[in-house]
Amino acid sequence: MPVLKDCNIWFGGYDLTSVANELSIETMYADVDVTTFGSTGAHTRVGGLQDSNISLMTFLDTSISEPAFFGDRGGVVELVTAVAFPTGGTVTAGDRCYAARAMLKTISDPMKVGDAAKINATLSGAQAEGVLQGMVLAPKATISATTTGSIVTLGAQTAPQIAYFGVHVFSLTGDRTVTLKLQSASGLAFGTAVDRVTLGTISAAGSGFGTSSTATGHQYWRVVATLGGTTGSVSFAAFASIQ
């Protein structure tokens, strides 16, 4: 049983890792009662709609957790990604992650004299895919030139599965922009890379998300980050999920 120490949490364009100390991702299904007179005295139920809740507990940091949560008031849907067990404590390509596009539901600032100031948030899953289980394609890193990420064995995408591609852009300096692309290939050599999802050019910190519904037997996946502009750098992280 691993002990949680290094869970990395990315929320839109913010890295909450160093200010968060608790995270809960809850997925539940409505139980729909379909009992009939012929059910011989017992309830009969079927699974209904999936729902998800995410709770984030953080220390109040006026440059991280406070703007992250307060910037998302008013029904903004934001991408949240958690890498619970990064390899050796450092997020590595291929690490398992959970992600969801969720809408801010509550912000709470528990204030008790003598306690460290905190700011907590709860979010509700807000998009059809619910909570995704995937793999990190690109750990958080800063690049100053177009970069191709590590190859990750995410596996084949069998119809009707969908390939999901999520990115967090934490900062852009100078005149940089970034265009992020999900690619797959049949072999580790990545001889013929196929573009699966290409996100629109990102020019400000935030998140990006895209999908591909085209099935493929390709086992190998990677991210390509193409920089625009001439000076500065971009800090980002990316994941993919097939389900």
Binding site: L4, K5, D6, C7, N8, I9, T17, S18, V19, A20, N21, T58, F59, G89, G114, A116
Partner: protein, 137 residues
């Protein structure tokens, strides 16, 4: 990332602003009262995620020893160190720089208690103990 030595030194600096108080950065073999001793803290390592860069909670104890044995003057003297404000206030001196020279994120002096009879008998000094919670990475 802050080390215990840096935080301890920060507390020593704060306590050294109290005129007349002999300040010891660690448990000494002997003291000259009135003295303050910064005792090795207990630590909660994982107050936040991110092991190496995680927020840590250091629970320091600062002992203030004012005189050998329990004397009236000693008790009155200790009052002044225990006062929440004033030129001899330990709380005020420490909380005046919650960053401890830039190495801490925040701190609070939560409690003071006078030493009990057994402690005084053991230490040979009358005094009190301050609990200082320091948050640092």
């Amino acid at each position: 990332m802050a080390t215990i030595a840096q935080l301890r030194a920060g507390l020593v600096d704060r306590l050294s602003t109290i005129q007349g108080l002999q300040v010891y950065g660690a448990e000494p073999g002997s003291i000259t009262p009135p003295a303050a001793v910064v005792v090795t803290p207990s630590i909660t390592y994982h107050a936040s995620f991110n092991s190496d860069g995680a927020l840590k909670q250091y629970s320091f104890r600062v002992m203030v020893l004012v005189a050998q044995g329990l004397l009236d003057e000693a008790a009155y003297s200790l009052d002044e160190y225990a006062d929440p404000t004033g030129v001899l206030s330990v709380r005020a001196a420490i909380e005046d720089d919650p960053t401890l020279n830039g190495f801490a994120e925040s701190l609070i002096v939560t409690d003071f208690r006078p030493l009990n009879a057994e402690e005084v008998a053991s230490l040979q000094y009358w005094g009190g103990s301050f609990d200082v919670t320091v948050y640092a990475r």
